[in-house]
Amino acid sequence: MTIRDQKEFVAGILFATIGVIAVFQSQSYKIGTITRMGPGYFPAMIGIGLILTGTTSIARGLWQAHPERLDNLHWRDMALVLGAALLFAVLIDRLGLIEAIAALVVVSCSGRIRQRPFEVLAIGIALIALAVGVFIYGLNIPVSIY
Protein backbone atom coordinates (compact mmCIF):
# COMPACT_ATOMS: atom_id res chain seq x y z
CA MET A 1 0.00 0.00 0.00
CA THR A 2 1.40 3.36 -0.95
CA ILE A 3 0.87 6.59 0.92
CA ARG A 4 -0.46 9.13 -1.57
CA ASP A 5 -0.37 12.32 0.45
CA GLN A 6 2.67 11.91 2.67
CA LYS A 7 2.29 15.32 4.30
CA GLU A 8 -1.26 14.79 5.47
CA PHE A 9 -0.45 11.22 6.54
CA VAL A 10 2.44 12.30 8.76
CA ALA A 11 0.47 15.25 10.15
CA GLY A 12 -2.43 12.92 10.92
CA ILE A 13 -0.20 10.53 12.86
CA LEU A 14 1.24 13.49 14.77
CA PHE A 15 -2.17 14.91 15.70
CA ALA A 16 -3.70 11.54 16.59
CA THR A 17 -0.71 10.77 18.83
CA ILE A 18 -1.06 14.10 20.61
CA GLY A 19 -4.77 13.34 21.02
CA VAL A 20 -4.05 9.95 22.61
CA ILE A 21 -1.51 11.53 24.97
CA ALA A 22 -4.00 14.26 25.91
CA VAL A 23 -6.72 11.71 26.69
CA PHE A 24 -4.36 9.64 28.81
CA GLN A 25 -2.93 12.64 30.64
CA SER A 26 -6.43 13.91 31.39
CA GLN A 27 -7.13 10.70 33.29
CA SER A 28 -4.65 11.82 35.92
CA TYR A 29 -6.73 14.94 36.56
CA LYS A 30 -10.26 14.77 37.91
CA ILE A 31 -12.65 14.22 34.99
CA GLY A 32 -15.86 14.96 36.89
CA THR A 33 -19.36 14.86 35.46
CA ILE A 34 -20.94 16.97 32.75
CA THR A 35 -22.60 19.23 35.35
CA ARG A 36 -19.48 19.61 37.45
CA MET A 37 -16.61 19.25 35.04
CA GLY A 38 -13.28 18.46 36.60
CA PRO A 39 -10.03 19.89 35.22
CA GLY A 40 -9.58 16.82 33.02
CA TYR A 41 -12.93 16.96 31.22
CA PHE A 42 -12.22 19.62 28.61
CA PRO A 43 -8.71 18.42 27.67
CA ALA A 44 -10.06 14.87 27.30
CA MET A 45 -12.75 16.14 24.91
CA ILE A 46 -10.14 17.99 22.85
CA GLY A 47 -7.98 14.88 22.84
CA ILE A 48 -10.86 12.82 21.44
CA GLY A 49 -11.41 15.51 18.81
CA LEU A 50 -7.73 15.36 17.83
CA ILE A 51 -7.89 11.56 17.51
CA LEU A 52 -10.87 11.94 15.18
CA THR A 53 -9.35 14.66 12.97
CA GLY A 54 -5.97 12.92 13.07
CA THR A 55 -7.34 9.58 11.86
CA THR A 56 -9.31 11.41 9.17
CA SER A 57 -6.01 12.90 7.99
CA ILE A 58 -4.34 9.49 8.03
CA ALA A 59 -7.17 8.09 5.91
CA ARG A 60 -7.04 11.05 3.54
CA GLY A 61 -3.29 10.65 3.29
CA LEU A 62 -3.75 7.05 2.15
CA TRP A 63 -6.49 7.63 -0.41
CA GLN A 64 -6.12 11.28 -1.41
CA ALA A 65 -6.39 11.85 -5.15
CA HIS A 66 -3.51 14.32 -5.38
CA PRO A 67 -0.18 12.79 -4.40
CA GLU A 68 1.99 15.02 -2.25
CA ARG A 69 5.55 14.30 -1.15
CA LEU A 70 7.15 15.46 2.07
CA ASP A 71 9.13 18.69 1.88
CA ASN A 72 12.73 18.66 2.98
CA LEU A 73 13.32 19.97 6.45
CA HIS A 74 16.21 22.43 6.48
CA TRP A 75 17.77 21.21 9.70
CA ARG A 76 20.73 23.57 9.40
CA ASP A 77 18.60 26.70 9.18
CA MET A 78 16.37 25.42 11.93
CA ALA A 79 19.28 24.70 14.24
CA LEU A 80 20.86 28.11 13.57
CA VAL A 81 17.75 30.20 14.15
CA LEU A 82 16.50 28.27 17.16
CA GLY A 83 19.99 27.77 18.57
CA ALA A 84 20.64 31.50 18.38
CA ALA A 85 17.41 32.27 20.25
CA LEU A 86 18.20 29.57 22.81
CA LEU A 87 21.64 31.04 23.40
CA PHE A 88 20.04 34.45 23.90
CA ALA A 89 17.70 33.01 26.55
CA VAL A 90 20.60 31.37 28.38
CA LEU A 91 22.83 34.43 28.28
CA ILE A 92 20.44 37.28 29.02
CA ASP A 93 20.13 36.70 32.77
CA ARG A 94 23.66 35.39 33.25
CA LEU A 95 25.59 38.04 31.35
CA GLY A 96 23.42 40.81 29.93
CA LEU A 97 21.68 42.29 26.94
CA ILE A 98 24.77 43.17 24.89
CA GLU A 99 26.38 39.74 25.18
CA ALA A 100 23.08 38.01 24.48
CA ILE A 101 22.45 40.06 21.32
CA ALA A 102 26.04 39.59 20.16
CA ALA A 103 25.73 35.82 20.52
CA LEU A 104 22.36 35.82 18.80
CA VAL A 105 23.65 37.79 15.81
CA VAL A 106 26.85 35.79 15.40
CA VAL A 107 25.12 32.40 15.57
CA SER A 108 22.16 33.31 13.39
CA CYS A 109 24.42 34.91 10.78
CA SER A 110 26.69 31.89 10.40
CA GLY A 111 23.98 30.32 8.28
CA ARG A 112 23.79 29.48 4.64
CA ILE A 113 23.56 33.05 3.39
CA ARG A 114 27.16 34.07 2.85
CA GLN A 115 27.86 36.77 5.40
CA ARG A 116 30.96 38.91 5.39
CA PRO A 117 32.56 39.24 8.85
CA PHE A 118 32.48 43.01 8.51
CA GLU A 119 28.75 42.97 7.85
CA VAL A 120 28.05 40.74 10.83
CA LEU A 121 30.02 43.16 13.01
CA ALA A 122 28.09 46.12 11.62
CA ILE A 123 24.70 44.42 12.08
CA GLY A 124 25.64 43.40 15.60
CA ILE A 125 26.70 46.90 16.64
CA ALA A 126 23.67 48.52 15.00
CA LEU A 127 21.26 46.10 16.65
CA ILE A 128 22.85 46.48 20.07
CA ALA A 129 22.58 50.26 19.79
CA LEU A 130 18.98 50.01 18.61
CA ALA A 131 17.98 47.52 21.30
CA VAL A 132 19.59 49.50 24.11
CA GLY A 133 17.95 52.67 22.83
CA VAL A 134 14.47 51.19 22.41
CA PHE A 135 14.26 48.70 25.26
CA ILE A 136 16.49 50.16 27.96
CA TYR A 137 16.01 53.90 27.47
CA GLY A 138 12.69 53.94 25.63
CA LEU A 139 10.71 51.24 27.45
CA ASN A 140 12.71 50.89 30.68
CA ILE A 141 12.97 47.13 30.66
CA PRO A 142 14.64 45.90 33.82
CA VAL A 143 17.58 43.95 32.42
CA SER A 144 21.29 44.43 32.90
CA ILE A 145 22.93 45.96 29.84
CA TYR A 146 26.15 43.94 30.07
Partner: protein, 503 residues
Amino acid sequence: MIEHLSLGFSVALSPINLLYCLIGATLGTFVGILPGLSPVTAIAMLLPITFKIPAISSLIMLAGIYYGSHHAGATTAIMLNMPGEPSSVVICLDGHPMARNGRAGVALCTSALASFFAGCVAVIVVAWFSPPLATAALQFMAPEYSAAIVLALVAVSVLSGRSLAMTLSMALLGLLLGTVGTDINSGALRFTYGFPQLADGVEFVAVAVGFFAFAEIIAHLPTAEVEKIVDTKLTALIPTRADFAAAWKPALRGTLLGGALGILPGTGPLLSSFASYAMEKRLSRTPSRFGHGAIEGIAGPEAAGNAAALTHFIPMLTLGVPAGATMALMLGAMLIQGISPGPQVMTQHPDLFWGLIASMWIGNMMLLVLNLPLVGIWVRLLSIPYRFLYPTILVFCCIGVYSVNNSYFDVFVAVACGGVGYILRQLGCSPAPLVLGLVLGPILEENVRRSLILSRGDPSVFVSRPISLALLLIAIATIAAFSLPKLLQVRMAGPGEKAVTPE
Protein backbone atom coordinates in the same frame (compact mmCIF):
# COMPACT_ATOMS: atom_id res chain seq x y z
CA MET B 1 -22.78 58.35 15.87
CA ILE B 2 -21.50 61.89 15.38
CA GLU B 3 -20.81 62.44 19.07
CA HIS B 4 -19.13 59.05 19.34
CA LEU B 5 -16.95 59.81 16.36
CA SER B 6 -16.02 63.20 17.73
CA LEU B 7 -14.99 61.53 20.97
CA GLY B 8 -12.98 59.10 18.87
CA PHE B 9 -11.27 61.84 16.93
CA SER B 10 -10.44 63.75 20.09
CA VAL B 11 -8.67 60.61 21.33
CA ALA B 12 -7.02 59.72 18.04
CA LEU B 13 -5.87 63.28 17.36
CA SER B 14 -3.96 63.63 20.61
CA PRO B 15 -0.28 64.10 19.74
CA ILE B 16 0.87 60.85 21.31
CA ASN B 17 -1.76 58.77 19.52
CA LEU B 18 -1.07 60.54 16.23
CA LEU B 19 2.55 59.59 16.69
CA TYR B 20 1.72 55.92 17.33
CA CYS B 21 -0.66 55.95 14.38
CA LEU B 22 2.14 57.29 12.19
CA ILE B 23 4.59 54.72 13.58
CA GLY B 24 2.07 51.96 12.92
CA ALA B 25 1.29 53.12 9.37
CA THR B 26 4.99 53.54 8.56
CA LEU B 27 5.92 50.15 10.00
CA GLY B 28 2.98 48.63 8.17
CA THR B 29 4.19 50.09 4.87
CA PHE B 30 7.65 48.75 5.61
CA VAL B 31 6.27 45.30 6.43
CA GLY B 32 4.00 45.30 3.40
CA ILE B 33 6.89 46.02 1.07
CA LEU B 34 9.45 43.61 2.47
CA PRO B 35 8.45 40.18 1.16
CA GLY B 36 10.00 38.16 3.99
CA LEU B 37 7.96 39.93 6.64
CA SER B 38 4.22 39.41 7.01
CA PRO B 39 1.94 41.60 9.14
CA VAL B 40 1.29 38.71 11.53
CA THR B 41 5.03 38.31 12.06
CA ALA B 42 5.44 42.04 12.63
CA ILE B 43 2.55 42.23 15.07
CA ALA B 44 3.80 39.15 16.93
CA MET B 45 7.23 40.78 17.07
CA LEU B 46 5.93 44.12 18.37
CA LEU B 47 3.28 42.70 20.71
CA PRO B 48 5.59 42.69 23.74
CA ILE B 49 6.54 46.32 23.19
CA THR B 50 2.90 47.35 23.37
CA PHE B 51 2.64 46.37 27.04
CA LYS B 52 4.79 49.30 27.96
CA ILE B 53 2.58 51.89 26.26
CA PRO B 54 -1.07 52.82 26.95
CA ALA B 55 -3.75 50.42 25.71
CA ILE B 56 -5.30 52.76 23.16
CA SER B 57 -1.94 53.79 21.69
CA SER B 58 -0.85 50.19 21.35
CA LEU B 59 -4.05 49.16 19.59
CA ILE B 60 -3.79 52.16 17.26
CA MET B 61 -0.23 51.19 16.39
CA LEU B 62 -0.97 47.49 15.84
CA ALA B 63 -4.00 48.32 13.70
CA GLY B 64 -1.83 50.69 11.67
CA ILE B 65 0.64 47.91 10.97
CA TYR B 66 -2.18 45.67 9.86
CA TYR B 67 -3.95 47.91 7.36
CA GLY B 68 -0.73 49.66 6.40
CA SER B 69 0.77 46.40 5.22
CA HIS B 70 -2.25 45.65 3.07
CA HIS B 71 -1.96 49.08 1.49
CA ALA B 72 1.69 48.61 0.70
CA GLY B 73 1.64 44.97 -0.34
CA ALA B 74 0.37 46.12 -3.71
CA THR B 75 3.50 48.19 -4.34
CA THR B 76 5.80 45.19 -4.65
CA ALA B 77 3.14 43.30 -6.57
CA ILE B 78 3.08 46.05 -9.19
CA MET B 79 6.78 46.84 -9.36
CA LEU B 80 8.23 43.36 -8.98
CA ASN B 81 5.45 40.88 -9.65
CA MET B 82 6.13 39.77 -6.09
CA PRO B 83 3.25 40.11 -3.63
CA GLY B 84 4.35 41.79 -0.41
CA GLU B 85 1.34 40.20 1.26
CA PRO B 86 -0.76 37.16 0.38
CA SER B 87 -3.72 39.48 -0.25
CA SER B 88 -1.83 41.28 -3.02
CA VAL B 89 -1.28 38.12 -5.04
CA VAL B 90 -4.15 39.20 -7.28
CA ILE B 91 -2.66 42.64 -7.83
CA CYS B 92 0.28 40.96 -9.58
CA LEU B 93 -1.99 39.69 -12.31
CA ASP B 94 -2.75 43.07 -13.80
CA GLY B 95 -0.56 45.43 -11.81
CA HIS B 96 2.71 44.05 -13.05
CA PRO B 97 1.68 43.94 -16.73
CA MET B 98 0.66 47.60 -16.36
CA ALA B 99 4.08 48.41 -14.96
CA ARG B 100 5.75 46.61 -17.86
CA ASN B 101 3.67 48.67 -20.25
CA GLY B 102 5.26 51.71 -18.67
CA ARG B 103 2.27 52.59 -16.53
CA ALA B 104 3.67 51.65 -13.11
CA GLY B 105 2.86 55.08 -11.71
CA VAL B 106 -0.76 54.93 -12.77
CA ALA B 107 -1.10 51.43 -11.32
CA LEU B 108 0.38 52.53 -8.00
CA CYS B 109 -1.79 55.61 -7.89
CA THR B 110 -4.93 53.65 -8.71
CA SER B 111 -4.23 51.10 -6.01
CA ALA B 112 -3.51 53.80 -3.42
CA LEU B 113 -6.63 55.79 -4.28
CA ALA B 114 -8.85 52.69 -4.38
CA SER B 115 -7.43 51.62 -1.03
CA PHE B 116 -8.01 55.03 0.48
CA PHE B 117 -11.57 55.26 -0.82
CA ALA B 118 -12.33 51.76 0.49
CA GLY B 119 -10.74 52.65 3.83
CA CYS B 120 -12.95 55.71 4.24
CA VAL B 121 -16.12 53.78 3.45
CA ALA B 122 -15.13 50.82 5.63
CA VAL B 123 -14.49 53.04 8.64
CA ILE B 124 -18.05 54.33 8.34
CA VAL B 125 -19.30 50.74 8.05
CA VAL B 126 -17.42 49.81 11.22
CA ALA B 127 -18.78 52.84 13.07
CA TRP B 128 -22.30 52.16 11.83
CA PHE B 129 -22.53 48.41 12.39
CA SER B 130 -20.62 47.98 15.60
CA PRO B 131 -23.03 49.61 18.11
CA PRO B 132 -26.16 47.62 17.11
CA LEU B 133 -24.09 44.45 16.89
CA ALA B 134 -22.63 45.04 20.33
CA THR B 135 -26.10 45.76 21.72
CA ALA B 136 -27.32 42.49 20.27
CA ALA B 137 -24.26 40.73 21.62
CA LEU B 138 -25.04 41.97 25.13
CA GLN B 139 -27.91 39.46 25.06
CA PHE B 140 -25.37 36.68 24.53
CA MET B 141 -25.15 34.22 27.39
CA ALA B 142 -22.61 31.45 27.88
CA PRO B 143 -24.17 29.06 25.30
CA GLU B 144 -24.20 31.74 22.59
CA TYR B 145 -20.60 32.63 23.31
CA SER B 146 -19.56 29.00 23.11
CA ALA B 147 -21.33 28.65 19.76
CA ALA B 148 -19.83 31.89 18.41
CA ILE B 149 -16.33 30.73 19.34
CA VAL B 150 -16.88 27.34 17.71
CA LEU B 151 -18.08 29.10 14.55
CA ALA B 152 -15.05 31.39 14.48
CA LEU B 153 -12.68 28.44 14.87
CA VAL B 154 -14.44 26.47 12.15
CA ALA B 155 -14.55 29.42 9.76
CA VAL B 156 -10.86 30.18 10.16
CA SER B 157 -10.00 26.49 9.81
CA VAL B 158 -12.05 26.10 6.65
CA LEU B 159 -10.20 28.89 4.90
CA SER B 160 -6.69 28.21 6.17
CA GLY B 161 -5.49 25.26 4.15
CA ARG B 162 -6.08 22.47 1.71
CA SER B 163 -7.31 19.88 4.22
CA LEU B 164 -10.05 20.65 6.72
CA ALA B 165 -9.01 17.72 8.90
CA MET B 166 -5.55 19.25 9.25
CA THR B 167 -6.68 22.81 9.98
CA LEU B 168 -9.27 21.60 12.49
CA SER B 169 -6.50 19.58 14.13
CA MET B 170 -4.47 22.78 14.39
CA ALA B 171 -7.42 24.58 16.01
CA LEU B 172 -7.84 21.70 18.49
CA LEU B 173 -4.12 21.74 19.21
CA GLY B 174 -4.47 25.45 20.02
CA LEU B 175 -7.38 24.72 22.34
CA LEU B 176 -5.28 22.04 24.03
CA LEU B 177 -2.39 24.46 24.50
CA GLY B 178 -4.89 26.87 26.00
CA THR B 179 -5.70 24.38 28.78
CA VAL B 180 -2.11 24.37 30.02
CA GLY B 181 -1.81 25.97 33.44
CA THR B 182 -4.08 26.40 36.42
CA ASP B 183 -7.67 25.26 35.98
CA ILE B 184 -9.88 28.25 36.80
CA ASN B 185 -12.54 26.28 38.68
CA SER B 186 -10.57 23.79 40.74
CA GLY B 187 -7.12 25.36 40.86
CA ALA B 188 -5.56 22.13 39.67
CA LEU B 189 -2.42 22.38 37.54
CA ARG B 190 -2.78 20.87 34.06
CA PHE B 191 -0.01 19.83 31.67
CA THR B 192 2.66 21.86 33.48
CA TYR B 193 5.05 18.89 33.85
CA GLY B 194 6.66 20.42 36.90
CA PHE B 195 7.44 23.81 35.37
CA PRO B 196 6.17 26.52 37.74
CA GLN B 197 6.45 29.02 34.86
CA LEU B 198 3.55 27.25 33.15
CA ALA B 199 1.15 27.73 36.06
CA ASP B 200 -0.30 30.87 34.44
CA GLY B 201 -0.59 29.10 31.12
CA VAL B 202 1.60 29.16 28.05
CA GLU B 203 2.62 32.74 27.31
CA PHE B 204 0.60 33.71 24.28
CA VAL B 205 3.23 36.12 22.94
CA ALA B 206 5.86 33.39 23.02
CA VAL B 207 3.65 31.03 21.02
CA ALA B 208 2.80 33.75 18.50
CA VAL B 209 6.46 34.67 18.03
CA GLY B 210 7.45 31.01 17.73
CA PHE B 211 4.85 30.11 15.15
CA PHE B 212 4.76 33.32 13.17
CA ALA B 213 8.27 34.75 13.47
CA PHE B 214 10.77 31.94 14.13
CA ALA B 215 9.07 29.37 11.91
CA GLU B 216 8.68 31.98 9.14
CA ILE B 217 12.35 32.90 9.24
CA ILE B 218 13.49 29.26 9.09
CA ALA B 219 11.16 28.60 6.17
CA HIS B 220 12.25 31.73 4.35
CA LEU B 221 16.02 31.30 4.74
CA PRO B 222 16.62 28.66 2.03
CA THR B 223 15.06 30.84 -0.66
CA ALA B 224 16.22 34.22 0.61
CA GLU B 225 19.37 34.40 -1.48
CA VAL B 226 17.45 35.16 -4.63
CA GLU B 227 18.22 38.68 -5.80
CA LYS B 228 15.26 40.97 -6.31
CA ILE B 229 15.49 42.95 -9.51
CA VAL B 230 13.34 45.95 -10.17
CA ASP B 231 12.71 45.65 -13.88
CA THR B 232 10.14 48.39 -14.11
CA LYS B 233 10.50 52.13 -14.04
CA LEU B 234 8.41 54.55 -12.08
CA THR B 235 6.48 56.82 -14.39
CA ALA B 236 3.87 59.53 -14.18
CA LEU B 237 1.61 58.97 -11.21
CA ILE B 238 -1.58 60.68 -12.26
CA PRO B 239 -4.19 58.47 -13.93
CA THR B 240 -5.84 59.84 -17.05
CA ARG B 241 -9.53 60.67 -17.24
CA ALA B 242 -10.10 57.38 -19.05
CA ASP B 243 -8.32 55.43 -16.30
CA PHE B 244 -10.45 57.12 -13.72
CA ALA B 245 -13.64 56.37 -15.62
CA ALA B 246 -12.65 52.70 -15.88
CA ALA B 247 -11.59 52.36 -12.27
CA TRP B 248 -14.21 54.04 -10.12
CA LYS B 249 -16.97 51.49 -10.53
CA PRO B 250 -14.76 48.47 -9.74
CA ALA B 251 -13.41 50.34 -6.71
CA LEU B 252 -16.94 50.97 -5.47
CA ARG B 253 -18.02 47.38 -6.06
CA GLY B 254 -14.83 46.08 -4.46
CA THR B 255 -15.40 48.24 -1.41
CA LEU B 256 -18.92 46.90 -0.92
CA LEU B 257 -17.89 43.31 -1.51
CA GLY B 258 -14.82 43.48 0.73
CA GLY B 259 -16.69 45.37 3.43
CA ALA B 260 -19.35 42.67 3.55
CA LEU B 261 -16.98 39.70 3.29
CA GLY B 262 -14.56 41.10 5.87
CA ILE B 263 -17.13 40.84 8.66
CA LEU B 264 -17.39 37.07 8.25
CA PRO B 265 -14.85 35.16 10.28
CA GLY B 266 -12.04 33.55 8.37
CA THR B 267 -12.36 35.57 5.21
CA GLY B 268 -10.40 38.80 5.45
CA PRO B 269 -8.48 40.65 2.75
CA LEU B 270 -7.11 37.60 0.92
CA LEU B 271 -10.43 36.05 0.03
CA SER B 272 -12.07 39.41 -0.62
CA SER B 273 -9.46 40.49 -3.14
CA PHE B 274 -9.75 37.19 -5.00
CA ALA B 275 -13.54 37.43 -4.99
CA SER B 276 -13.45 40.98 -6.32
CA TYR B 277 -11.05 40.05 -9.12
CA ALA B 278 -13.31 37.18 -10.17
CA MET B 279 -16.32 39.48 -10.08
CA GLU B 280 -14.69 42.23 -12.15
CA LYS B 281 -13.54 39.76 -14.73
CA ARG B 282 -17.03 38.34 -15.04
CA LEU B 283 -18.68 41.76 -15.25
CA SER B 284 -16.23 43.12 -17.78
CA ARG B 285 -17.27 43.41 -21.42
CA THR B 286 -13.70 42.59 -22.41
CA PRO B 287 -12.53 39.90 -19.97
CA SER B 288 -9.66 39.08 -22.31
CA ARG B 289 -7.87 42.24 -21.18
CA PHE B 290 -7.55 40.81 -17.66
CA GLY B 291 -4.07 39.55 -17.01
CA HIS B 292 -2.63 42.05 -19.49
CA GLY B 293 -2.88 45.21 -17.44
CA ALA B 294 -6.57 45.93 -16.93
CA ILE B 295 -6.95 48.78 -14.47
CA GLU B 296 -10.19 47.25 -13.12
CA GLY B 297 -8.12 44.28 -11.96
CA ILE B 298 -6.25 46.61 -9.62
CA ALA B 299 -8.95 48.99 -8.46
CA GLY B 300 -11.48 46.30 -7.50
CA PRO B 301 -9.33 43.83 -5.54
CA GLU B 302 -7.31 46.56 -3.87
CA ALA B 303 -10.46 48.29 -2.62
CA ALA B 304 -11.97 44.97 -1.55
CA GLY B 305 -8.84 43.96 0.32
CA ASN B 306 -8.56 47.17 2.26
CA ALA B 307 -12.27 47.37 3.07
CA ALA B 308 -12.14 43.79 4.35
CA ALA B 309 -9.03 44.53 6.40
CA LEU B 310 -11.00 47.19 8.29
CA THR B 311 -14.35 45.45 8.67
CA HIS B 312 -12.38 42.41 9.86
CA PHE B 313 -12.17 44.27 13.17
CA ILE B 314 -15.94 44.20 13.74
CA PRO B 315 -16.34 40.70 15.25
CA MET B 316 -13.33 41.23 17.48
CA LEU B 317 -14.49 44.62 18.72
CA THR B 318 -18.17 43.84 19.20
CA LEU B 319 -18.17 40.16 20.23
CA GLY B 320 -14.66 39.62 21.46
CA VAL B 321 -14.38 36.82 18.93
CA PRO B 322 -11.50 37.45 16.52
CA ALA B 323 -12.08 36.66 12.86
CA GLY B 324 -8.51 35.70 12.00
CA ALA B 325 -4.97 35.27 13.26
CA THR B 326 -4.09 38.98 13.21
CA MET B 327 -7.24 39.79 15.13
CA ALA B 328 -6.37 37.03 17.61
CA LEU B 329 -3.08 38.82 18.24
CA MET B 330 -4.92 42.13 18.70
CA LEU B 331 -7.24 40.42 21.16
CA GLY B 332 -4.18 39.12 22.99
CA ALA B 333 -2.87 42.69 23.18
CA MET B 334 -6.16 43.83 24.72
CA LEU B 335 -6.20 40.98 27.25
CA ILE B 336 -2.69 41.74 28.39
CA GLN B 337 -3.63 45.40 28.80
CA GLY B 338 -6.33 44.25 31.21
CA ILE B 339 -9.28 44.92 28.92
CA SER B 340 -11.65 41.97 28.74
CA PRO B 341 -12.91 41.91 25.17
CA GLY B 342 -16.59 41.64 24.36
CA PRO B 343 -19.64 43.79 23.72
CA GLN B 344 -19.07 45.75 26.92
CA VAL B 345 -15.84 47.29 25.54
CA MET B 346 -17.88 49.86 23.65
CA THR B 347 -19.67 51.09 26.78
CA GLN B 348 -16.88 50.61 29.30
CA HIS B 349 -14.05 51.94 27.14
CA PRO B 350 -15.73 54.22 24.59
CA ASP B 351 -12.53 56.23 24.20
CA LEU B 352 -10.66 53.09 23.20
CA PHE B 353 -13.32 51.83 20.85
CA TRP B 354 -14.05 55.07 19.01
CA GLY B 355 -10.47 56.22 19.22
CA LEU B 356 -9.37 53.10 17.38
CA ILE B 357 -12.00 53.60 14.69
CA ALA B 358 -11.12 57.28 14.22
CA SER B 359 -7.44 56.36 14.07
CA MET B 360 -8.17 54.00 11.17
CA TRP B 361 -9.45 56.92 9.13
CA ILE B 362 -6.48 59.09 10.10
CA GLY B 363 -4.15 56.18 9.39
CA ASN B 364 -5.60 55.77 5.91
CA MET B 365 -4.97 59.48 5.27
CA MET B 366 -1.39 59.04 6.41
CA LEU B 367 -0.95 56.02 4.18
CA LEU B 368 -2.07 57.98 1.15
CA VAL B 369 0.63 60.55 1.86
CA LEU B 370 3.18 57.87 2.75
CA ASN B 371 2.50 55.78 -0.29
CA LEU B 372 2.07 58.17 -3.16
CA PRO B 373 4.72 60.88 -2.99
CA LEU B 374 7.21 58.66 -1.20
CA VAL B 375 6.78 55.56 -3.31
CA GLY B 376 10.27 55.93 -4.76
CA ILE B 377 11.84 55.56 -1.32
CA TRP B 378 9.77 52.51 -0.51
CA VAL B 379 10.70 50.79 -3.74
CA ARG B 380 14.33 51.33 -2.89
CA LEU B 381 13.71 49.52 0.41
CA LEU B 382 13.25 46.36 -1.58
CA SER B 383 16.98 46.15 -2.04
CA ILE B 384 17.49 45.50 1.69
CA PRO B 385 18.81 41.94 1.69
CA TYR B 386 17.19 39.35 3.91
CA ARG B 387 20.51 38.68 5.61
CA PHE B 388 20.19 42.08 7.31
CA LEU B 389 16.54 41.63 8.03
CA TYR B 390 16.32 38.32 9.81
CA PRO B 391 18.85 38.99 12.59
CA THR B 392 16.92 42.18 13.30
CA ILE B 393 13.61 40.32 13.54
CA LEU B 394 15.24 37.70 15.76
CA VAL B 395 16.71 40.27 18.15
CA PHE B 396 13.42 42.14 18.52
CA CYS B 397 11.50 38.90 19.00
CA CYS B 398 13.84 37.54 21.65
CA ILE B 399 14.01 40.72 23.71
CA GLY B 400 10.28 41.19 23.27
CA VAL B 401 9.33 37.72 24.46
CA TYR B 402 11.77 37.97 27.33
CA SER B 403 10.47 41.35 28.46
CA VAL B 404 6.81 40.30 28.85
CA ASN B 405 7.46 38.55 32.16
CA ASN B 406 11.22 39.09 32.37
CA SER B 407 11.43 35.39 31.88
CA TYR B 408 14.01 33.51 29.83
CA PHE B 409 11.67 30.52 30.10
CA ASP B 410 9.26 32.26 27.71
CA VAL B 411 12.06 32.45 25.13
CA PHE B 412 12.47 28.68 25.49
CA VAL B 413 8.73 28.30 24.87
CA ALA B 414 9.05 30.46 21.75
CA VAL B 415 11.98 28.34 20.52
CA ALA B 416 10.00 25.13 21.05
CA CYS B 417 7.00 26.61 19.23
CA GLY B 418 9.29 27.76 16.44
CA GLY B 419 10.59 24.23 15.91
CA VAL B 420 7.17 22.62 16.06
CA GLY B 421 5.71 25.42 13.95
CA TYR B 422 8.33 24.95 11.23
CA ILE B 423 7.77 21.19 11.06
CA LEU B 424 3.98 21.64 10.94
CA ARG B 425 4.41 24.30 8.28
CA GLN B 426 6.44 21.95 6.10
CA LEU B 427 3.63 19.43 6.52
CA GLY B 428 1.24 22.01 5.12
CA CYS B 429 -0.44 23.08 8.38
CA SER B 430 -1.28 26.77 8.75
CA PRO B 431 -0.63 28.25 12.20
CA ALA B 432 -3.63 30.63 12.09
CA PRO B 433 -6.23 28.23 13.58
CA LEU B 434 -3.80 27.19 16.30
CA VAL B 435 -3.22 30.74 17.53
CA LEU B 436 -6.94 31.45 17.40
CA GLY B 437 -7.58 28.28 19.41
CA LEU B 438 -4.99 29.25 21.97
CA VAL B 439 -6.56 32.68 22.53
CA LEU B 440 -10.13 31.43 22.53
CA GLY B 441 -9.53 28.13 24.38
CA PRO B 442 -9.84 29.38 27.96
CA ILE B 443 -12.88 31.54 27.04
CA LEU B 444 -14.52 28.57 25.32
CA GLU B 445 -13.89 26.23 28.24
CA GLU B 446 -15.27 28.74 30.74
CA ASN B 447 -18.42 29.34 28.68
CA VAL B 448 -19.06 25.66 27.97
CA ARG B 449 -18.73 24.83 31.65
CA ARG B 450 -20.93 27.74 32.65
CA SER B 451 -23.60 26.76 30.09
CA LEU B 452 -23.69 23.22 31.42
CA ILE B 453 -23.90 24.36 35.02
CA LEU B 454 -26.81 26.68 34.12
CA SER B 455 -28.60 23.87 32.30
CA ARG B 456 -27.82 21.36 35.07
CA GLY B 457 -25.80 19.17 32.77
CA ASP B 458 -28.24 19.12 29.89
CA PRO B 459 -26.17 19.49 26.69
CA SER B 460 -29.27 20.41 24.70
CA VAL B 461 -28.82 23.95 26.05
CA PHE B 462 -26.63 24.64 23.00
CA VAL B 463 -29.38 23.74 20.53
CA SER B 464 -32.49 24.87 22.41
CA ARG B 465 -31.54 28.57 22.28
CA PRO B 466 -32.18 30.06 18.84
CA ILE B 467 -29.02 32.16 18.41
CA SER B 468 -26.74 29.42 19.67
CA LEU B 469 -28.50 26.87 17.44
CA ALA B 470 -28.18 29.14 14.40
CA LEU B 471 -24.46 29.72 14.97
CA LEU B 472 -23.80 26.00 15.41
CA LEU B 473 -25.83 25.15 12.29
CA ILE B 474 -23.77 27.63 10.28
CA ALA B 475 -20.61 26.00 11.62
CA ILE B 476 -21.83 22.52 10.66
CA ALA B 477 -22.98 23.71 7.24
CA THR B 478 -19.56 25.28 6.67
CA ILE B 479 -17.80 22.03 7.51
CA ALA B 480 -20.17 20.07 5.28
CA ALA B 481 -19.79 22.47 2.37
CA PHE B 482 -16.03 22.42 2.48
CA SER B 483 -15.77 18.68 2.97
CA LEU B 484 -17.21 18.13 -0.48
CA PRO B 485 -14.19 17.54 -2.71
CA LYS B 486 -15.61 19.38 -5.69
CA LEU B 487 -15.96 22.65 -3.83
CA LEU B 488 -12.47 22.18 -2.49
CA GLN B 489 -11.06 22.05 -5.98
CA VAL B 490 -12.88 25.20 -7.03
CA ARG B 491 -11.43 26.94 -4.02
CA MET B 492 -7.90 25.87 -4.81
CA ALA B 493 -8.15 26.85 -8.45
CA GLY B 494 -7.61 30.51 -7.59
CA PRO B 495 -4.77 32.31 -9.30
CA GLY B 496 -2.58 32.18 -6.20
CA GLU B 497 -0.37 29.32 -5.20
CA LYS B 498 -1.18 26.87 -2.47
CA ALA B 499 1.11 28.44 0.10
CA VAL B 500 -1.11 31.46 0.73
CA THR B 501 -2.87 31.60 4.04
CA PRO B 502 -5.43 34.17 5.13
CA GLU B 503 -3.98 37.22 6.89
